[in-house]
Assembly symmetry: C2
Homo-oligomer: 334 residues x 2
């Protein structure tokens, strides 16, 4: 039995009004963790509020209770009087966006996260990088709390486990992941519904963006490093936003020779979100941290701010990755 | 306990020299089923020969024992004297290619398959469409036979379950699939190795082919039907074969509005392999059967032979699908 998980259990039991907060640029694990923790706590008679300082991507709209997540426009001083703030899946305080101010009011706070780069910024931090996903931590926590699952809760809890393991493809996919998935499917989660909602709701225009991203594709370091980017005008040409084009960094990594992939999406002029992936030995989280971001050894990211052109601005990161790749033999851990 | 599985068990126990035969255009489930059945039987002291009348795609070369699969050039009359022929994952006799002649020599034959369109062409047919994959049937069979798994066998058995469920994304992904995966991972299968070997060994040129396939993309029937194709000269331009470009039909289906996707790869002039996928209600196996192929309701295929141009030749299938889509309301089962 995990002692920190037990401490989290006790704190949650004592509280009545609980604010559950996820991170900016919410992914499947974030939405899953926020909603399934809220659902589970409400089954135990708690009152919860879910908060994320970001527009929830439309791929999550088919999922239950997602529409009840409030954004920062719904901030009120009432939130500051919650019994407990629970932050999920966020590795540093800036990741919760403007809701970060909630940390200033002396409200007790709990952090539940699986990112190794977590800066442990709450009163009680349950940070466990051996977990595939924060959603899998929530699953173990809710089981410990003897929450009775229904189909909606099982579905919402499954969502984060599936998405954060890349649908059971990444190196964090161990036997406990499959066991959790089996249990959640028995409890009513529909794997095909989740995969279809997340992966099979692309717009035709994304294919045209993909064509542009292929045009920008570069291979460096003996083809071990692939990068590409899209500028804000590329997105505008097809009336798409960067949230509509998330998977390309994984496509870059799928090239046989590639160890490191980088993809940059310019969100507005002078600002881009940079995603990093690696295949087997390169620690991309250290690169992300060097540029003010965070993540995992095989999947990380950061926000780049710059004057001038995106491709030029990327060169510092591109050169850092190339240098590290070239100064190490293929078998050394970077 | 399944009675047919028990009968298969008895027949296998009685035989000494067993010929295990997979199908042409072998996919992950075929290679997995052939190799894991052979490995399991050898652990029980049997002598096995593995046969597939097709060049094994290079994505399978990192996997154990795959190099021991013989092709038709290694045909010998000795094969006709095996005690038992076991055919796996093949829905009709033509699917085993030129090894079909083995059915003529009076050798006892067993068929293990999960395709609903199976024509039951062996002496003993264990055909169970409720299974996700033939590999999952092999897993249950080898457990019944009390085969002791090592890491290589677990890996090879996992391969087919993972690939035939689209890495746990298709509608055949139920809790037994996740339970089997969990057991196989505990026995030594590495999910990330399988995903990397199968999905992340693309060549750069495949991205360029993808760009061409996007240029050929058409949407019909109120955007519910997407199709595309590549001609033999497209493949030749990048020195690629159709085996190097397998996933695009799934990409077509991933468009939100799309229910049916069709992708045709011209292998030589006048012959193309046509892949069909559907998302939630259209039975593509009936279309495939109408053109002499087979498969599942959500994934099927056929070979098209024609004079003249590929795009023209495709129109009969394209019109059949469009007509069926348009003559039914979205909610009716087709």
């Amino acid at each position: 039995m995990n002692r920190t998980m037990n401490a989290v259990f006790s704190k949650l039991l004592q509280a009545q009004n609980i604010l559950v907060c996820g991170h900016i640029m919410p992914d499947g694990d974030c939405v899953s963790s926020v909603v399934s923790l809220s659902m589970g706590l409400e089954k135990l008679g708690k009152k919860t509020t879910m908060a994320i300082d970001w527009k929830i991507p439309s791929i999550f709209s088919p999922f239950p209770r997602v529409e009840r997540i409030i954004d920062y426009s719904r901030y009120s001083t009432q939130l500051e009087n919650s019994d407990l703030l629970v932050i999920v899946d966020a590795s540093s305080p800036d990741r919760i966006g403007r809701f970060e101010r909630l940390l200033r009011y002396g409200m007790p706070s709990i952090l539940i996260d699986h990112h190794a780069t977590n800066t442990r910024f709450a009163n009680l931090c349950w940070v466990e990088p051996s977990y595939s996903s924060t959603a899998q931590m929530i699953f173990d926590l809710l089981k410990l709390m003897e929450v009775s699952y229904d189909g909606d809760l099982a579905l919402m809890n499954y969502l984060g486990i599936a998405t954060d393991t890349g649908f059971f493809r990444y190196s964090n996919t161990n036997s406990t992941v499959f066991e959790a998935a089996a249990e959640l499917v028995k409890l009513g989660a529909d794997p095909c519904m989740v995969a279809t909602a997340i992966l099979e709701t692309r717009r035709l225009e994304e294919f045209f963006l993909e064509r542009d991203a292929i045009d920008n594709l570069r291979l460096l370091s003996n083809d071990r490093f692939a990068y590409s980017y899209l500028r804000v005008e590329d997105f505008e040409r097809y009336s798409l936003g960067e949230d509509d084009f998330g998977g390309f960094v994984g496509d870059l990594r799928s090239i046989a020779s590639v160890e490191v992939a980088l993809f940059a999406s310019e969100s507005v002029g002078g600002e881009a979100h940079v995603s990093l992936r690696s295949k087997s030995y390169f620690d991309v989280s250290s690169v992300a941290v060097a540029f003010g971001g965070g993540g995992h050894p095989r999947a990380a990211g950061f926000t780049l701010k710059y004057d001038g052109d995106l491709e030029e601005a990327l060169q510092e990161a591109v050169e850092l990755i190339s240098r590290r790749l070239e100064s190490h033999s293929k078998d050394a851990t970077l």
